[in-house]
Symmetry: C2
Subunit: 348 residues, 2 copies
């Protein structure tokens, strides 16, 4: 059910689907320098927490591949520099840091002593991170699909689909898996201002996969929930603290409060790499602020008077108490999260 390849290693190049051009055009950025990979993450050509992690890993592998270092310490220096640049690309999705830590570990200990073997080992690690994500997405889909009854309707926000991962997605994997099991699940997709990932990406990939999807403006979600047009809400996550507090695309908090108000289950779907067990609660998660341009300038048309001040956080924090369950590759963690997430942390 994967509608599109989001990223690929091919002969010393990282090919990244440029998601800014969707749904109009399907073009790939061919990156041969790690700086192009940093740019792709920074400018949201590649986006979605799991995909950001995979992309960063390939960025390190790419830099190592083309490194002119003559010995392993030199290559390690190069890797260190690249990791620093990738770390600064975006602050909130913890998968970025998780993937970079894995690459650093390989850089520190991998290979059999030659530059060539360490290069090879770093590439294998990046390919492995990508490959694991495919199985992780599939497992999230399987685990979440059990929560959906036949004919259910799901409300989702932003894009937590194939386009956000290296596989079939997180929140949308649940829908794909349910539909593979013949459940005929339908979707309401928030358009997700300012960058319209819901309209441009979620509606696009769901339609590619033949899923019945209805697009709504973000502020219509309250009516959809009040009118019980949706049976549950499923969203992705950019970082989850040890207590279950979840950072996700701005607007998620509002959905969670509304779902609670109307007694509708609210689920988060995310791989274990999205958990940051070093943070006790969500208040410590850094929230990226985006530029005013994204809000006031729509496809070249200025919609607000020149000089209008804008507040544009890219994410918000949903307190764990609003969350009915967190769907991971290891199963569905249920409240109280103190216990269920401690157990998740100990999974092999």
């Amino acid at each position: 059910v994967i509608p599109v390849k989001t990223i690929e290693w091919r002969a010393g190049e990282v090919r990244i689907l440029d998601q800014r051009a969707l749904p109009g055009r399907k073009v790939y950025l061919r990156c041969s320098h790690y700086r192009e990979v940093v740019e792709a993450i920074r400018t949201l050509a590649a986006r979605g927490a799991p995909l950001i992690g995979i992309t960063a890993a390939y960025g390190v592998a790419l830099a190592a591949w083309h490194s002119r270092a003559r010995d392993v310490p030199g290559l390690r220096d190069d890797v260190r520099r690249v990791v620093g640049a990738l770390e600064r690309a975006r602050p909130t999705a913890v998968n970025l840091f998780w993937a970079l830590r894995r690459m650093e570990r390989v850089a520190a200990t991998g290979g059999s002593g030659s530059v060539a073997s360490l290069r090879e080992r770093l590439l294998r690690e990046a390919l492995g991170i990508h490959d694991e994500d495919r199985s992780t997405c599939a497992a999230i889909g399987r685990n979440g699909a059990k929560l959906l009854r036949r004919g259910a309707t799901v409300l989702t926000h932003c894009n937590a689909g194939a386009l956000a991962t290296g596989g079939m997605g997180t929140a949308l994997a649940v829908i794909y898996a349910a539909n593979q099991a013949g459940k005929g699940v339908r979707v309401y997709a928030d358009e997700t201002r300012p960058l319209l990932q819901g309209a441009r990406l979620t509606a696009w990939e769901l339609r590619q996969c033949g899923v019945d999807v209805t697009l709504i403006c973000d502020s219509v979600a309250a009516s959809v929930l009040r009118e019980r047009r949706a049976d549950c809400v499923i969203v992705g996550a950019d970082r989850i603290a040890a207590n279950g507090d979840t950072a996700n695309k701005v607007g998620t908090l509002g959905l969670a409060v509304l779902a609670r108000e109307y007694g509708i289950p609210f689920y988060v779907a995310a791989p274990r790499s999205t958990f940051d067990f070093s943070l006790r609660g969500g208040e410590a998660i850094p929230i990226e602020e985006r530029s005013a341009e994204e809000v006031v300038c729509l496809y070249g048309t200025r919609v607000a008077p020149f000089g209008t001040r804008v507040y544009s956080p890219a994410f918000d924090i949903t307190p764990a108490r609003y969350i009915s369950g967190i769907i991971t590759e290891h199963g569905v963690a249920l409240p109280p999260f103190a216990g269920s997430l401690r157990k998740l942390r100990q999974e092999p």
Copy 2:
């Protein structure tokens, strides 16, 4: 503090500010046929519940002015036809029907028996509706300003300002009046998808009047309320039922639920002409559905795949239990609304 004239009668023409062109251009539609007035309402060149009422009244006066009827019964027939066309222009804002009932009453009983005197009388009624709205807005401003402390910050949705009325607005009148009293009130304005009245109109008119305004995407409001960046929410209304249930621009319901969740007062500001005492509750208010084009097509760019289904109600209903007070020209109606609105209904 009125930043702009929204509508004007001049020498047999109704001049209507074309709000679709704001904030880029300030152009007036010069209507000499009532069908152009119907179109202006239907296409949202003139929008906002009070302004829709005023515009409809001028539409009737305009048709009467240019009517070729030779006697009063003929003129009444013409008025009836025009009223029917105007009634079908938009379904939710009750001010439209309220203004048309007033014009019908004049048509049925006004004038001194000649076509010329009835024409004159219909025009006087339309000018009177417009004029009353100016004082009504000012009174709403005065009454609401008392609710705001010095240095307060208000969150608002859509545009319930001068541009929605024939005067200084409803929700924004409260802010203008507070600032005339030196309170230095600041505003967060929801951009209000799909038609961006918050960005295009509210940010524009507040800046024209020197008010400190910050624009946000609609889904950022949850963060603004959670972070207590706003002290209260004030919105306008398109129709208010006898129990206080309020139809307003879609997204209002979500704000009301969030305001309740965070213990932040939620006010509605509207003239008595926005009340529909014939409806016991909000469920009977007709909700206009707008076209998919407004959601998927942004200034000529298609943002969702061709054929994507869209659900786009223009309004939602906020149950009275979420509303802290309704600011009218007769004072602030407080819960329980059964009593306070019964009293409002009996005002002279």
